[in-house]
């Protein structure tokens, strides 16, 4: 039936991992063997990236050739997975014991793998490298309830808020003064909706966990064992959003929006503000020239003084047969020189100490792209990854549904958040 169910493909179809979990390999502390990375750097290392081959083949071929030359007797086999279905691919490989030696993961993917004993504790195996990385980036690879660090920090990203000056102007708002506080943001959003007769919304999406984080809501207790986003600050944020939704200041489709659909709304110019990254400028120019002429750039509003960042890492499989070589290679790819070179290929940011002080990230040259890059690099020095690594996809759905019920007025913000916290805690405890 698979061949004919018109349901399976693509973006979406995720698989409910059935069956056959890991055999006896790896007790939860299986990655802790600190001596395993010692030894001669040799053998074939399988290196898996996430959707980088199509654009950066040359860069990686170079890195690999250099590594093989530096360590004679090593060979790196590079495989690259396409954009969609990455968690499913990892699930199947983890279950069948076919994980590659070095794997590109974000912290939320690394956490379950580390917890299952499938990720090598880098802190124990290669703690000597810790000093090379930004503190925040290194810490973002720590996992609550586990003692180690389970991936080398790799590239970072963060972004500004883009806004549409033309829409601001039409709503009687000053296009040179985008909101910098939440109070202003909410007030401007209501003005925008009123002046446009609910046709133009300020924001495209309902608040996600990072919005709660940015607003200054305490998401979890200090030990990372319980969710706490139903505290008064969280209720306050949700109450504001509820007013926005009722007034038409959030897009009508906000309750089902995802990053892509929000981006589309912004490019269609039916939404006036949207978060993005330096890479988006290129897209606007090519796909929505009308918007590009009117693009405004500002910092994302927050109450904490810390921007949100996205982190990628390189994990080493605890079952790797060539641990010394795998660790050496993962470090090689993420060392300062190679991260810097990669950051110059595409607008991402290195997680190594000192790299962000490079003139490339500090000197403006008058173009928008550089301006965005410089501002992002500056904010990254203190940025944090607000999304707790223990927040699973299932918990994200719980939160999303609770937020939707509150915005629609089916539940009070307090009730909605209380029930979401209770459900997330239950999922966390039984995990």
């Amino acid at each position: 039936m698979r061949r004919h169910s018109r349901r399976t493909p693509a973006a979406t179809a995720a698989l409910a991992a059935s069956a056959l979990l890991l055999s006896a390999c790896g007790a939860p502390d299986g990655g802790g063997d600190s001596d395993s990375a010692a030894g001669k750097v040799e053998g074939q290392v399988t290196f898996q990236t996430w959707n980088l081959k199509a654009r950066f083949q040359k860069y990686f071929d170079g890195v690999i050739a250099e590594f093989e030359k530096k360590y004679p007797g090593t060979k790196v086999k590079w495989i690259d997975q396409p954009a969609e279905g990455y968690p499913q691919k990892l699930s199947a490989d983890a279950a069948a014991g076919t994980l590659p030696d070095v794997v590109n993961v974000s912290p939320d993917l690394a956490y379950p793998l580390a917890k299952a004993g499938l990720a090598l504790d880098i802190g124990a195996a290669a703690g000597k490298y810790r000093g090379e990385y930004l503190d925040g980036a290194w810490r973002s690879q720590q996992m609550p309830g586990l003692s180690g660090v389970y991936a080398f920090p790799w590239y970072l990203n963060t972004g500004p808020m883009f806004y549409n000056k033309d829409l601001f102007r039409k709503a009687g708002l000053d296009p040179a003064k985008p909101p910098t506080t939440y109070d202003r943001l909410f007030a401007d959003a209501l003005t925008m909706a009123r002046k446009s007769d609910r046709r133009i919304a300020m924001l495209a999406g309902a608040p996600s966990i990072e919005d709660f984080g940015r607003y200054g809501v305490r998401l979890m207790d200090a030990r990372g064992t319980e969710f706490t986003f139903n505290e008064p600050k969280g209720v306050e944020l949700l109450t504001h959003y509820r007013q926005l939704y009722a007034a038409g200041a959030l897009d009508a489709q906000a309750l089902t929006a995802v990053a892509e659909s929000a981006g589309r709304k912004f490019q269609q110019q039916s939404v006036a503000m949207n978060p993005g990254s330096a890479l988006d400028l290129e897209n606007f120019k090519r796909d929505a020239p009308g918007l590009y002429e009117n693009i405004g750039i500002t910092d994302a509003v927050n109450n904490t003084g810390k921007a949100n960042m996205y982190v990628q890492g390189l994990m080493v499989s605890a079952d790797s047969k060539v641990k010394p070589a795998a660790v050496a290679f993962a470090h090689f790819v993420t060392d300062r020189r190679h991260q810097m070179a990669f950051a110059k290929q595409v607008a991402v940011f290195p997680s190594t100490k000192g790299s962000l002080d490079d003139p490339y990230f500090t000197k403006e040259d008058g173009t928008d792209a550089t301006r965005v890059r410089v501002a992002a690099a500056k904010s990254l020095k203190t940025a944090v990854n607000y999304t707790p690594v223990v927040l699973s996809d299932q918990m994200k759905t719980v939160l999303r549904n609770a937020v939707a019920r509150a915005l629609q007025g089916k539940q009070s913000p307090q009730e909605a958040l209380d029930s979401a916290v209770a459900e997330c805690n239950r999922l966390l405890k039984t995990g």
Partner: protein, 309 residues
Amino acid sequence: MGMRNAAAAVAPRDSGRRRGIRTHLPTSPWLFLAPGLLVVGGFSLYPFLSTVAHSFTDARTLRAGRFTGGANYQEMLHDPMFWTGLRNSVLYVLGVVPPLVVLPLLLALLVRRSVPGIAFFRAAFYLPVVASVVVVGLIWVWLLDDRGLINALLEVLGFGRAGFLSDPWLLLLSAMAVTVWKGLGYYMIIYLAALAQVPRELHEACAVDGAGPVRRFLTVTVPAVRATMVLVAALSAVNAFKVFSEVYLMAGAAGGPGGEDTTLVMLVQQAGTGLSGRVGYASALSVVVFVLTLGLMLSVLRANRGEDR
């Protein structure tokens, strides 16, 4: 009445079963069946046994489970999302099966006769079937968006905009419409294969009798392809009950605002996906989906057999 019998005589639905052919070595049916049984047994039914086993545990994607008895099933009964999903899956069957049984048949009749350029039309009508569901989702989201083509049209005509992608009920209806749209060509070709076995003389005989097209359709065509209509009803009912992609692509991963448009299979995916997936709970949901679709399929087939007598 006579015409009906004539149609039944040329297209006996189950002659093999009734009259049977016995002259063969006792093993040969099993030799015919062996490859098929091996593949579906080894790659569908056998793995499903582990799903059934998992449904009684609290397994996660990366953690073997402990036996928890019927806890997952109990949780399901108390999970409001399960009931929402069940309601939507049932509504989906009721909404899409009738059009998917009738419209593809009419379409098959329309393209059946050879007229110049017909090959082009036939292939074009099949396009929605072969296009990937992601592309189809993208297109319809674009069309049905608040600022999409269809709302622009409604506005020009003075109806005002409709929240096809924001109102939970309209979202469900929109997803059904896309399912029907994408299913037309699929079931059309099943009908075409069946219609090819209805002798044309029958139609001509009727036409000479002075029967109009509607009467000919009801008295000749429908009885002749009744077995196929039942098959299409069963297949489309099962597919509708297990709907996932259309709702996912139009209403988002959570299944509409607050999950109000979620379906049972979406719940399976939500529960089981990812490295922290709740395999135990997702398996229990899968087992329920399996049992309900089996019941649905068998009852459609049985209803047909009952009518036969």
